[in-house]
């Protein structure tokens, strides 16, 4: 690991952090999103929601204790060799992928660890499950961070410590959103894995070979949130629940689509068509989510993809405005109609006729089902 690169980057960020406001995004700045919140209040509200003692949680606990991937994350010399071969733009975009994935896994690790700690007295079974999930995330993140070291880099943790904000979402945000992000994580990883298995010439770095076992962890994490939702039927059984379900589906799908398009070079670098990859992941995630959310989006309707593609174009224009030499006031002025257009597409997508869905344990249509 080259300490020169990291310490130099850290010094740069250190000086920028003190002058503050916008930090120029460099390759090593992990992206993260925060929400405002009042820490203690939200946790006090949250605790009653975890007061469950159903068989499903005992079953989940057993499943997590099994620790399927206990011995799975073992590196070999292929990693460094592959990293050394990668140069130029592909190398840069690869590092960014590792760094973003590592940040995401670390965030999950922290959230679950904290929830595991706080819920010990309220519900020891659920608390233990959170701790075991944080074990998984720590493993994933550690593996990715070691991958970064193949490229003579590491996550700049010093900077993050300074910028640290402990943010907790309202419970329904955690339940819906984390469910979606775990399940979408499963579908992203398994799709990349299976695609590369079928097209091994794009297997430029060995980490993808680990994705098949890795993503089963994500899938299980999603199942836990599924059980949490089922334990709180008010999140599943009324018109508000349906509106929230659709909202979170849309947020997660659009975020992924826009983010991935900005990084299309990475997906193309491993032989994928970025938009087709994303649509496949969205369709499968949506199908999975229909097993628990009371309403999901009609993502297979061609109009949905058309809207996503228009949002990509608008987003590209917004980013282009940022790159011009205009003064900030002019830039903001130029952005206004574009942001309005984006909001309009989002709203239209949200208002598209949804698909009724849900777990057979709750769904109104269950009596008509044939298994």
């Amino acid at each position: 690991m080259s300490s020169a690169t990291t310490s130099q980057a850290a010094a740069e960020k250190g000086s920028k952090a003190s002058t503050k406001k916008g930090i120029k995004e460099t390759l090593l700045t992990p992206r993260f999103y925060t929400t405002d919140f009042d820490e203690m209040t939200d946790f006090e509200e949250m605790e009653p929601l975890f007061n469950t003692d159903q068989a499903e949680f005992e079953a989940l606990l057993q499943e997590f204790k099994t620790d399927y991937n206990q011995t799975h994350f073992v590196r070999n010399k292929e990693f460094k060799e592959a990293a050394d071969k990668m140069q130029g733009a592909l190398r840069e975009i690869f590092v960014e992928f590792l760094e973003r994935s590592c940040t995401a896994e670390f965030s999950g690790f922290l959230l679950y660890k904290e929830l595991g700690r706080r819920l010990k007295k309220t519900n020891p079974v659920v608390a233990e499950i959170f701790s075991l999930m944080s074990r998984d995330e720590a493993r994933h993140a550690g593996f990715l961070n070691k991958g970064l070291s193949d490229f003579n880099l590491a996550l700049d943790l010093g900077f993050l410590t300074k910028a640290r904000k402990y943010t907790f979402f309202k419970p329904k945000f955690i339940f819906y959103a984390t469910y979606l992000s775990e399940k979408i994580g499963y579908w992203r990883y398994i799709t990349i894995y299976r695609h590369l298995k079928a097209n091994p010439e794009f297997q430029c770095y060995p980490i993808f070979k680990y994705f098949e076992n890795w993503c089963q962890d994500e899938n299980r994490h999603g199942d836990f949130f599924s059980a949490l939702l089922k334990a709180q039927p008010q999140f599943l059984n009324d018109w508000k629940a349906k509106l929230w379900s659709r909202f979170f589906c849309l947020s997660v799908y659009v975020t992924m689509y826009l983010n991935d398009w900005q990084r299309t070079a990475f997906y193309e670098g491993i032989g994928l068509n970025t938009k087709e990859f994303d649509m496949h992941v969205i369709i499968e995630t949506n199908r999975t989510t229909a097993r628990i959310f009371p309403a999901v989006l009609d993502v297979e309707n061609p109009e949905f993809k058309r809207k996503l593609d228009r949002m990509v174009e608008i987003n590209q224009k917004i980013l282009a405005v940022g790159e011009t030499d205009d003064i900030p006031l002019v830039k903001n002025f130029k952005r206004i109609p574009l942001i309005a257009a984006l909001a309009s597409e989002l709203l239209a997508a949200y208002l598209m006729k949804p698909i009724e869905s849900g777990s057979v344990d709750f769904a109104e249509f269950e009596p008509q089902l044939v298994y």
Binding site: Y33, A59, F106, L111, V254, N273
Partner: protein, 212 residues
């Protein structure tokens, strides 16, 4: 807007690196905590109640020698069932899970306690289930009740029940059926569908493989 793969909190201490690196190697939860499936010879453990009316002399005399009771004690089997197309053709993640579990059992020298049974005979005992079932049907059967509960959570669109049987053969008895699944009309994945017949390693021991 939320991160696409996980919630990002962005709060990391430098100690996290050592914690995470350490936990990669830490054998965090070892076998003692794993709820091992009941060994196949039907040995008693504290949570298994004797419900059978058959009391042999052996059982009455000496419960510390459970192996001798195996032929006369009923065992409980838990199952999930749905139509074959759903269980074997549509749910690709299900296939991954079963192979993962099989690999784990191999690694830890555990005896297989879960099977896929095509057109199981025990369904005859459940008219309430069969009247809602498309045929041919396939059941996931296991002696591990909590695991079946977990699988119900995962698969959702299945019916769950349990039954007792005197022997594994009786429990997993089935009617041979040939299965053929149509290729999906629409396939948008950047990879090919999993091959048919993947379920062979999970069929009851000694049973015929279904023909395509």
């Amino acid at each position: 807007m939320l991160a696409s793969t996980a919630l990002n909190l962005g709060s990391l201490g430098s100690c996290i690196v050592t914690v995470s690196a350490h936990s990669c190697h830490k054998p965090s939860l070892l076998l003692p905590f794993v709820a091992l499936p009941k060994p196949f010879n039907g040995s008693c453990n504290s949570s298994w109640k004797l419900t059978t009316p058959f009391k042999t002399a052996v059982a009455a005399v000496d419960s510390s020698q459970p192996a001798q009771q195996q032929d006369t004690e009923k065992k409980k089997y838990y199952f999930l069932v749905a139509n074959a197309k759903f269980m074997l053709d549509e749910e690709e993640h299900f296939q991954e899970q079963l192979f993962e579990r099989l690999r784990l059992f191999g690694e830890r020298n555990m005896e297989q306690d879960f099977w896929l049974v095509i057109e199981p005979k025990f369904l005859d005992k459940f008219p309430n289930i069969t009247k809602r079932l498309k045929r041919p049907a396939v059941a996931l059967v296991s002696t591990n009740g909590p695991w079946i509960t977990f699988m119900k959570l995962r698969l959702d669109r299945v019916l769950q029940e349990s039954y007792e049987a005197d022997s594994l053969e009786e429990a997993l008895a089935c009617t041979p059926v040939s299965l053929k699944f149509e290729k999906p009309e629409k396939w948008v994945a950047p990879y090919p569908k999993y091959e048919s017949e993947w379920w062979t390693p999970f069929l009851p021991p000694g049973s015929q493989t279904s023909k395509v």
